[in-house]
Structures are given as structure tokens and as C-alpha cells.
Amino acid sequence: MIRLENVALRYGRGPEILRDVNFHLRPGSLHFLTGPSGAGKTSLLRLLFMSIQPTRGLIHLFGQNVTRITPSRRADLRRRIGIVFQDFRLLNHLSTWENVALPLRVTGKKTQDYQEDVTDLLQWVGLGERMYALSPVLSGGEKQRAAIARAVIGKPELLLADEPTGNVDPQMARRLLRLFIELNRLGTSVIIATHDHQLMQQFQAPRLELHDGRIHQVG
């Protein structure tokens, strides 16, 4: 599913954020990605999402080498990946509903084909009342839930979530995590970057810990 070999990363002429990162995740696995702030969790997720390229090493996704990838192949692969950004990245001029539907809309599907799915998912994450609100008027937690809904609406094979519970109360955090676990049971591989130790204790799952630019697998 995901295989990294000797991956190193530096931004420009800055220090190496990641060095000699090696790991292999099987399809259908669920991992927490932890490490102190600035350790490179977001950077690692961006590598997996093919937003940036590693300085050294190889990255394999879905059995394909994606280290250097063409834009059109990347667009294809990204349709199989859902991502939740730390800063949400919702489009301000679209409603919550339209933001969540965006991954389906760009595939060229007809609105009627996914209308119900989007509405149902929004109900499920507790945004049934906020479906037609523009994203700037949503609260931080509401934006976060919209971002999560957008990431999972396409039933991705891989879900990358960056601090997905950073802005919600513990109860909503548990609810959202269950959504991830349900997806995982249906076959989606999940990586959740988080600082939330309480959450990690509640949901026992193997961890990838980032320290000094290296990965340590725990559990």
C-alpha cells in the first residue's frame, strides 16, 4: 500500500526535516502519526499526497512508484486518496454541501448521483443544519467536520488526516474517529497525525513516531 525507502526531505537549503525514513504499511491498516510540533508530520503527509517530492529515496503508493509523477497520473491517484488538512482548505464561496461534494464533482459525475450520499454524510457529521452555509461562517469545529466529510465522501482507499480532531470537543473527536475506524473496516487505509494522547489511548492503534527526522514504529 505505502512503502517508503530511505526517504529524506529538506525545504530549499534548510535542514533535513526527514532522513532515512523507511516503512511499509499494508492495505487496510490504521496508524497514528505522532511526534512533537515541527517534527515533520505534515511534511510526511504531503509527501504521501504527492504535493512535494522527497530530496532522496523512493515512495511507492498502490504498488506504483510515485516519487516523480506526472500531473495527470497524480490526479488519478489522488482520487483514491482522501486528505484532511490541518488548515481545512475549504473554498470560501461554496456552501458546506458543495465543498463536501467537490471531489465527486471534479470526476464529472452528475449531481443526482451523489446528492443523497453528500447530504447523508453531512447529517452524520452533525452538519445537517449547516449544509447551505458558506464555509467562512462555520465555526472551527464545523469547518473541521466539513473537511473530514470532503476527505471521505469519495470512499478513498487511503485516508490522510492531519490533526483531524484539533478543533472539536472530546465527544465529537471520538465520533469522528469512529468514522475513520468504520472506513478502515470497509478497507480504507488510514493515517491520522495527532498530538492527542487521550484519543490515542482510547483507540488502540499502531503508531508511527517521528523523532529527529526518523520514524519509529510502535505497536
Binding site: S51, R78, E182
Partner: protein, 329 residues
């Protein structure tokens, strides 16, 4: 870990996962907001500029078309008519000579009709050059005989010319061939000039659209980024921009073409208003025919609009691809 009974499990399937409670009443809002907003892409000034470009293109194309039309009509007329010119000669009775030549010509093969022009008509032809002075009658005005040729079996001009020369040395046959080729040269160079103007207008339009595309992409940077994140292809993103530029092209094209059409319709009146008098409008008519566009002329303007709109759209598509290829998300 403890599970909330309200939360579905894997056994219930995906559908159920997304929909534990399915509400009966639902407000289906199928109308979707454009991903790229028109106002961030095509401002009013852009519409004005492209309209002006289309106006100029239509004006040029229409004018060249009209000139070609009337030139074709001219050369057609000229081709079916030749004249014999008899220079003034005081010793002989010129009217007598005129009828003798006419009689000779009538019997030639390939001649349909012969009409000696009365002296008034000949002087009338000279009036534009010499002015309508009263003493024109006293001038040694050459006399003319108009010959209408049989277009289906035209005579051999050289035989006709030589026969005429042998019998009447003062008579000169003028078959207007020189005029014909001159008219053709003039219309051809006008058409080339028009083509050059069209190419310039096209290049300027392309240049404007290229920079407009670039600034549209810049002001929609974050949207493009998010589209890439959700797996949109470059083709999809280009289409989102193209739509606006196509509609810009069509709208501006129609405005420009309508403007040009009004000019063609009202040009004679404008000329009169500007103080040119009737003479000017007659002259325009001589150059541009009736100065009225016919059906193919309207179609030509339609084609100009379509070309402008297509140019806007394709330039944007190409521009978006180029910009996307030069950046990574």
C-alpha cells in the same frame, strides 16, 4: 474501547454508515455554484476591450467583403461592354461617321448591340473631370459607341480591332482590359490589407486573453490548489476557466458585431451628417456597391464572432495548461 449504539458498524454497509437516520423532507439544492467565479476572471474592462477588437474585426471583414462584391459587379459589367472611341475631327461630319462605324460593328460576329452615344452623354461623362461649364459643348469632345457583346460567344478582340483599324483609322477600340486588371489589383491589395488588420486584431486579442488568463489564475490560486487536492485534472481546471472566457468572447463578439452592423447600415447617413453631401454617399456607393450587407455578409460577421469566441476559449485553455505545468501542488 466502547462503541456508541447509534454508530453503525461495518455489517450495515456503506450506505448505512453515511445515513443512520434518513430524513424524509429534504431541500434538494441541485443548483451548483461555479467553482471559479465569473467576477474574478472577466471584468468589465476586458469585455469592453474584446468588444472593440471584435468591432474592428467585423468592420474590416465587412468592408473587404463589400469592396470585393462591388468590384466583382464592376468587372462583370465592364467585361460585357466595350467602347469604340472616335476622336474629334473638324473636316468630316462626325455624326455621319459615327453611324457608318456603328453599321460596320453591327455586322461583326459576337456583337449583340451597338449604341452610339449622343454628344450630350459624352460630355456628361467628362463633367466630373472638367466641371459642368457651359462652354463644354465647344470643346473637341471625342465621341463614343457602346458595344454590347454576346457573352456566350464573345468576338475575337484582335480581329475586331484590326478590322476597325483597316476601315476607320480614327476609331480606337477600348476593351477596358486595363481597367479590369487594375480593379483586380486594387481589390486584391485591399483584401490583403484587410487580412493584415484581422491578423493584428487577432494577435492583440490573443495577447489580452493570455494576460487575462494569467491574472485570473493568480486571483484563483487557492481554488486551483484545492481542485488539485481533490483530484481534479488539468483538463477540468482549464474548463472551469474556459467557460468564462468563452462566454466573454460570445458576449463581446455579439456587441462588437452589432456595432459594426450599425455602422454598415447607417454609414451613408453619417456621411451626410458630417457635411459630405450627397456626392459623398454616391461615392461610397461607387466604392462599396450599395454598402448593404447581404446574407453571406451577415454570415461572414457571424464567423468573425465565432472565431473571436473560439480564440478566447482556446487561448485560455492553452494558457491554463502552460501555467499549471509550470507549478506543482
Amino acid at each position: 474501547m466502547t462503541f456508541d449504539p447509534n454508530i453503525p458498524t461495518a455489517q450495515t454497509g456503506t450506505k448505512e454508515l453515511y445515513s443512520p437516520v434518513r430524513p424524509k423532507e429534504r431541500n434538494w439544492n441541485t443548483q451548483s455554484t461555479p467553482i471559479v467565479q465569473a467576477k474574478t476572471v472577466t471584468g468589465n474592462s476586458l469585455v469592453v476591450v474584446i468588444s472593440i477588437m471584435c468591432f474592428l474585426a467585423c468592420l474590416t471583414a465587412g468592408t473587404v467583403y463589400l469592396i470585393n462584391q462591388s468590384a466583382a459587379a464592376w468587372t462583370d459589367d465592364i467585361a460585357s461592354e466595350v467602347t469604340v472611341q472616335l476622336s474629334f475631327d473638324q473636316t468630316t461630319n462626325i455624326d455621319d461617321k459615327l453611324s457608318k462605324i456603328s453599321f460596320f460593328l453591327t455586322n461583326q460576329q459576337g456583337v449583340n448591340g451597338v449604341r452610339p452615344l449622343p454628344v450630350e452623354e459624352s460630355t456628361a461623362l467628362l463633367e466630373p473631370w472638367l466641371g459642368g461649364a457651359a462652354n463644354l459643348n465647344d470643346l473637341p469632345v471625342p465621341r463614343l459607341i457602346a458595344i454590347e457583346l454576346d457573352r456566350t460567344s464573345p468576338p475575337n478582340m484582335d480581329t475586331l480591332r484590326n478590322g476597325l483599324k483597316k476601315n476607320f483609322p480614327q476609331a480606337v477600340l477600348d476593351d477596358h482590359r486595363r481597367w479590369q486588371s487594375q480593379i483586380q489589383t486594387v481589390t486584391r491589395s485591399l483584401a490583403l490589407g484587410g487580412l493584415a488588420v484581422l491578423i493584428l486584431v487577432g494577435s492583440a486579442t490573443t495577447g489580452i486573453i493570455v494576460s487575462a488568463t494569467r491574472s485570473a489564475m493568480a486571483s484563483n490560486r487557492e481554488i486551483v490548489e484545492v481542485l488539485h487536492f481533490v483530484g481534479a485534472t488539468d483538463r477540468f481546471i482549464a474548463r472551469e476557466f474556459e467557460r468564462h472566457f468563452l462566454s466573454l468572447g460570445v458576449r463581446s463578439g455579439l456587441v462588437g458585431a452589432t456595432g459594426a452592423l450599425l455602422i454598415f447600415i447607417f454609414m451613408p447617413y453619417f456621411m451626410r451628417l458630417l457635411g459630405g453631401g450627397n456626392m459623398t454617399s454616391a461615392e461610397i456607393r461607387r466604392l462599396l456597391g450599395t454598402a448593404a450587407l447581404d446574407m453571406p455578409g451577415f454570415i461572414l460577421l457571424g464567423i468573425v464572432v465565432i472565431v473571436i469566441a473560439a480564440l478566447c476559449m482556446l487561448t485560455t485553455r492553452y494558457g491554463v495548461y502552460r501555467i499549471l505545468n509550470s507549478q506543482h501542488h
